[in-house]
Subunit: 163 residues, 2 copies
């Protein structure tokens, strides 16, 4: 039950990450991870992309996607500040896992079969931070998104963790 | 529909943030935002706390929470590296929104009534980054969690954004 009636409507709607090049990031999140693009909002200096896994078993209309983007959980917002993709001065974004800038750690994707998912990631040329065979935790992996953000790959049932 | 059969099982399970003092953070996420503690895993040097909004309309057993923690979306993982809470040398974590360390931006909570939610946050002494009345975007707010991470408060229906 919600702890108070006042928060009963609350949902953890989205997590926002800045990305250098939306073409590269959208290819990764859509084609490698399998997320759908729910909406795209272009402003003068930046564009926002909202992605989520579609669990509805059918394609959604854009209207349904627009509604779901506000009302569901598990949405990823990618912010592109225009120009970073071809600015030689741009040094890239911090992953949050090293100083300075330590704070945010990772996002995590639950999959039914970590081994199989990671074999596919290998074939697709995805960068690994930790393969399932590395270290003590054999049933999890960490891959890197195009900006170097860590993405934990975890099984739906069991869980062992790195700090 | 999922873009490929290989990713049909994938879910955006959680987002991980490091926190200085779990007592303070748990009070905030449970009492102010209304999340439930789904599971807690203590290791030698660190402890992980998994929180989520319970939308089931009833209290869950610990077993149900453990299962949901792996199988659902919208989970927040808080990592506490033991000792930071009373280490005078510890300088705090980066919010991700200023250099150096810019990358991660914020998490967002959908609420049914932004004005009402923010009035309650004010009464509870929550720090604001942007009140609904600040700036041009009147129907969103940004509050700060105890570590200074930005939390966007957005209405379930309409959406205007800050980069």
């Amino acid at each position: 039950m919600p702890r108070t009636a006042e928060t009963a409507s609350f949902k953890f709607n989205h997590t926002m990450l800045r990305v250098k090049d939306p073409k590269v990031s959208l290819a990764f999140y859509q084609d490698v991870l399998g997320m759908d693009l729910y909406s795209e909002q272009k402003f003068d200096d930046f564009t926002l992309y909202f992605l989520a896994f579609n669990h509805d078993g059918r394609d959604l209309t854009q209207e349904e996607k627009n509604a779901a983007r506000f009302s569901r959980e598990g949405v990823l917002e990618l912010t592109h500040n225009h120009g970073t993709e071809n600015d030689p001065e741009f040094k890239g974004y911090a992953s949050g896992n090293t100083d300075p800038g330590k704070g945010f750690g990772h996002i995590a994707i639950t999959v039914d079969d970590v081994e199989k998912a990671c074999e596919r990631f290998e074939k697709l040329g995805v960068q690994f931070k930790k393969r399932p065979s590395d270290g003590k935790m054999r049933n999890i992996a960490f891959i890197l998104d195009p900006d170097g953000y860590w993405i934990e790959i975890v099984p739906g049932q069991i869980k062992l963790i790195l700090k």
